[in-house]
Amino acid sequence: MSRLIRMDGSGHTTLAEWTTDDPASVEAAVAAFRDELEQGAIAMVTRGPGHADHVRELPLDEQLVIVRRPIAGG
């Protein structure tokens, strides 16, 4: 089961869960993913220690996709 989560005021919220053999869950996850990006969020996938990638489309084969807010110089 793969998960799309968003870091937010609650710690994190699970936005969607999907398996590739369940088209309905994939469709819901893709819709939730696009909603977040349209609101200005940034999606990341961790690739082991020290590595993370920014993704613009939901990578269906990943176990965990994290949505974060933009950062800015303080």
Partner: protein, 212 residues
């Protein structure tokens, strides 16, 4: 990189600071040298004044001591400003903090988790040096020098992120594009490690010692 990855691998936030040249090891070295020159420009004149005053008249010793105090205090104030990038914000409620710490714990190894629990800073090795990531900024440790970067997750809807999430935001951005991260962040101070260490809260000095 897979087909779903961003094509350029660059931090998306770079678009918000399009006028800044991308940070590179060479540019960082120049910024560090500029900070060294700035420190010297503050220290050397006051030291010369202090020496000159005493040579002119031993009665001018109080003025000389005041000049030396300026030579010490001005760089110390810069370092103090730099050290504030590691400060902790007021924590959120217990449940969100626990959830955020759980996620952050999944992103780092056991040693980093342990250091974060003790100091509030997460170590992250990079090509520019070793980073110590906090809630509202990061320290970049390279040899005997520390650069202090002010950067934070934005709160567009006004909701306050738990501390673990703040660190995780910066950590993920740093991991995806280190030089982009250093471009987006504001350099608050760069100087000798000992200067910054003195200005850090005691519990955070262990983090600096651990990666030095």
């Amino acid at each position: 990189m897979t087909a779903t990855d961003a094509s350029d691998g660059l931090l998306p936030e770079l678009a918000n600071v399009y006028w800044r040249p991308r940070m590179t090891p060479e540019r960082l070295r120049r910024r560090e040298q500029l900070w060294t020159l700035t420190t010297l420009a503050h220290v050397v004149p006051f030291v010369l004044i202090a020496i000159g005053m005493v040579l002119l008249s031993p009665l001018a010793l109080p003025v000389s001591l005041a000049a030396l105090a300026h030579a010490w205090l001005i760089p110390a104030l810069y370092a103090r400003r730099g050290a504030t990038v590691t400060r902790a914000l007021t924590p959120a409620a217990a449940a969100p903090e626990r959830a955020a710490l759980g996620l952050l714990g999944d992103l780092v190894d056991r040693d980093a988790r342990e250091l974060h629990a003790r100091t509030g800073l997460v170590p992250e090795p990079g090509r520019l040096g070793t980073w110590l990531v906090g809630e509202v900024g990061a320290l970049l440790v390279a040899g005997r020098r520390v650069s202090c970067w002010c950067v934070r997750a934005t709160d567009p809807d006004g909701s306050r992120l738990p501390s673990g999430d703040r660190v995780a935001h910066l950590l993920l951005a740093l991991r995806s594009d280190e030089e982009g991260f250093a471009t987006v962040a504001n350099l608050a101070f760069s100087g000798a490690r000992w200067r910054v260490r003195r200005r850090l809260p005691k519990r955070q000095r262990a983090a600096l010692d651990a990666v030095a």
